[in-house]
Symmetry: C2
Subunit: 503 residues, 2 copies
């Protein structure tokens, strides 16, 4: 991976999916890219053993796929081959019944994938790219953005050293050091909020088929939900026929699960079918030993500083995981940054000798300013929608009024819009998704816009959905009024008839 | 200032007014108190020279006085002697007229005082207290709350060392290191927001009287405001007959004031009388050389961690300065903490030998939990009110509808409540202000509740004012309707009479 000395240098902090995709995007544009990651290379066998119990399975949808396709179609292909499509939610009711709610009239799916699988694929591509250098076990300690320097520590050799950059991307997650360092020099509006719920991951093993082969114990083409109002359990399928289950519950509820007995009693009462599938021994072990993790929502503005640093993904906007959009949104950040780099014609070549290497790059500055201005409302919207969706997932999906509204929503959708994709096609036709701007005229369910329409921005989707909800409400009132008027008319008619007869 | 080895040790970070008052409160309860301040002792002549242009003058009102009285009546006395009472706002209109708007029907005042004067008085008291040790030029670098240790750097000797504490108070202002360190171990909801306005301080010198003695150039018993809608100038009196002026303006507006000409033209157009009083030369010098400072609003929750650390004052809640409550609120924090320490009977003596020195102090834990729970809504309320009041100060005070509403407000106040204080008495009868809880039944203007009634919590005041505003609005509608009905009746009467006459 030789780097050209005549090119500008980008330092990307964080080699998760967002950092890797950003590295690919810049490398393809001719930048020299150095990617710094505090943890060891997750492709090493030792890392794999350590990260077994770590992160929520990912549900990748069209926004994520569109971003991958825009920057690296090979990764998008590879990803779609290893993902498991989920067509809808499978609600496990308290009465023990199963209720399948499809995500989309046209059969469009979201895709379950282990975070590590996606991350490895992207790391492989980055490692194979020209101009990209990977530095694992390299922790960024501090940043001097004005002088374009990072202080980095090699945690293996325990040495600290300075590195230079022309452009820095912070893709280092919820507790981002780059974001924290930016707060020292930028007047940044910032907000962080923990919800009262925590999550614990549990493993549901594969079952055994008639010939002893591994089989799924639940339908693999659904995202399974056990909504229990104040808490819920979900399960996403893996390629090895296991499911990754996640319990979301208020801290106070989890505090009560301290002994094997209390765990079993509680789970058997609320999730009897899940206990059977997971197995009592494994369940107790996982609940008592797996870490309880907090759920945080963060918002920042601006996302950039001068012409030289930007934060993307969780570093800029951690959201609660209930819309399944966290990583989709992070990948879309990269796609939008990339589109803006194109549209402003940013050029990584170091210009004529004599010009200061550190002169303000006005085109890059303009890209970063446009990114902050254009992206802010979108990121606010999806963070808020993710928070709202928690109530939907653990409670509303079980109510009659929700099912009724969803039905009307789908009917209006069918009446006003054409089918977008073939039912049989898992892969949407996304290769040329525009920079989101306009708003389609058809009636579209919110979930459809957020999940399957990367051409509609999050903010537009939220606004349009609010307007549609007001119309639905109006229809509700109109319906009630109609029923009332008809009822009144019928009553009067009956009374008149009776009165006439009695005369 | 000998410390008793059998007492628990409190480390207070920040020797501003809030930190000093907290030191006094704990010292009087028998704690050994170590007060760490990163800056030099502001009582030294060298410090005084350096801090000349620093901070907004303080407008102390009854909440601040009540807090001082509850903890140290001597300081309250001393403070009232050096403060200048301000009875109302003096509006300098664009037409060049003066309009005095009294703060209170009964003549109650807010008090102008230099921050340094108050801080010095409190430092003197702390220095003279038993059990208090002062450490200036001691910067806290980090905290290990679980092991009750602070890492401190003596910036004179450049040595770093560790100090122990049983209880730590962070009173280290808007960019609090204690708050930042707490965020590493507490799941803290946190928000920071910069407004688009910045401020610049200007000095208005004393004038010369007939015998050459210094005289005030404006009425000293008012807080002067030049409201200009999107920006404003204010002026508060000092004992030496000068005024401290503060210009609040959007950053974009200030960007235009780059040359002596642009400064003079702009000021003469918007504030001709202020230019005359300040003098052109001094004005230009101050505007071009004094720092432009940002205005930040921060909110946190919780304010404590376990039984061992709490943040008070700006460290917990920086607010914009437009209700004049920032320091009043910080001092009230100390009074409320102090009341809770009393009510839970927290005892600083180290108990029987053998008991672990670091066992959880359940009474202190209960105090801190009650503080966070009880204080949160109050602090949210005053932060929001301060933000709202900016629009009132720079714009609404000039509108007819504001003046009309304020008049009705005052009339209702007079009709429903008795006079609280003698007109001649500057000093309110505050020595026994209860822990705020109940809500009075009388009609009370919001400003009166916030500024003159420390027995009413900020949250209660905000709630009550919102209810009163709805009633006022209702009265407005009722009035409009009445006018409409009377008008209609009159019209019909006239028409009838005319018709009858014409027959």
């Amino acid at each position: 991976m030789p780097q050209s000395p005549s090119r500008k240098r980008a330092a990307i902090v964080g080699a998760g999916p967002v950092g890797c995709l950003a590295a690919l995007a810049l490398s393809k544009r001719g930048w020299n890219v150095d990617l710094y990651e505090g943890r060891p290379d997750l492709r090493l066998p030792s890392s794999k053993a350590a990260s077994g119990q770590r992160s929520i399975n990912l549900a990748i949808s069209h926004r994520g796929i569109a971003a991958l396709e825009a920057i690296d179609p090979a990764v998008a292909d590879q990803f779609l081959q290893s993902a498991i499509p989920m067509r809808g939610r499978m609600i496990h009711t308290e009465a023990g019944e199963l209720d399948s709610q499809l995500y989309d009239r046209d059969g469009q799916c979201i895709n379950s994938i282990g975070r590590a699988v996606l991350n490895e694929g992207l790391l492989e591509e980055a490692a194979a790219s020209e101009n990209v250098r990977l530095f694992f076990n390299h922790k960024v300690l501090s940043a001097d953005f004005d002088n374009r320097k990072l202080m980095v520590k090699d945690t293996v050799s325990n040495k600290e050293f300075q590195v230079d950059f022309d452009f820095c991307i912070g893709a280092d997650g919820s507790y981002s050091i780059i974001q924290r360092q930016m707060m020292r020099v930028v007047r940044m509006d910032y907000q962080q909020e923990y919800i009262t719920h925590e999550y614990v991951e549990l493993k549901m093993p594969a079952g055994r088929g008639v010939n002893g082969e591994p089989v799924f114990l639940l339908d693999p083409n659904h995202l399974h939900i056990w909504p229990r109002h104040s808490f819920m359990l979900i399960a996403l399928p893996n390629r090895d026929k296991t499911f990754t289950c996640t319990l979301f519950a208020p801290s106070a509820e989890l505090d009560r699960l301290k002994t094997p007995d209390s765990v079993l009693t509680w789970f058997k009462f609320h999730f009897p079918d899940a206990v059977q599938a997971i197995g009592e021994k494994l369940l107790v072990e996982d609940v008592l030993t797996n870490p309880r993790s907090p759920l945080i929502c963060t918002k920042s503005k601006p996302y950039h500083y001068k012409d030289r640093v930007i934060i993307l993904g969780d570093a800029a906007h951690s959201m609660v995981p209930f819309y399944g959009q966290g990583l989709n949104c992070g990948l879309e950040d990269v796609r939008i940054l990339s589109t803006l780099l194109d549209s402003e014609g940013v050029d990584p070549s170091i210009q004529e000798a004599g010009a200061s290497e550190h002169a303000v790059d006005r085109r890059l500055l303009r890209v970063l300013e446009r990114y902050t201005e254009g992206r802010y409302q979108d990121l606010l919207s999806i963070c808020d929608l993710a928070m709202d969706n928690f109530v939907e997932m653990r409670h509303s999906v079980t109510t009659l009024s929700y099912i009724f509204k969803k039905t009307v929503d789908t009917i209006l959708y069918s009446l006003t819009s054409r089918k977008m994709v073939e039912l049989s096609s898992l892969r949407p036709t996304l290769s040329r998704v525009p920079y989101p701007s306009g708003e389609p005229r058809a009636w579209l369910p919110l979930y459809t816009m957020i999940t399957f329409r990367p051409d509609i921005s999050y903010a537009t989707a939220k606004r349009k959905a609010e307007r549609q909800a007001r119309i639905l409400e109006g229809l509700g009132w109109a319906g009630t009024t109609l029923v009332g008027v008809v009822g009144l008319w019928a009553t009067l008619l009956v009374r008149k008839t009776l009165t006439e007869r009695l005369r």
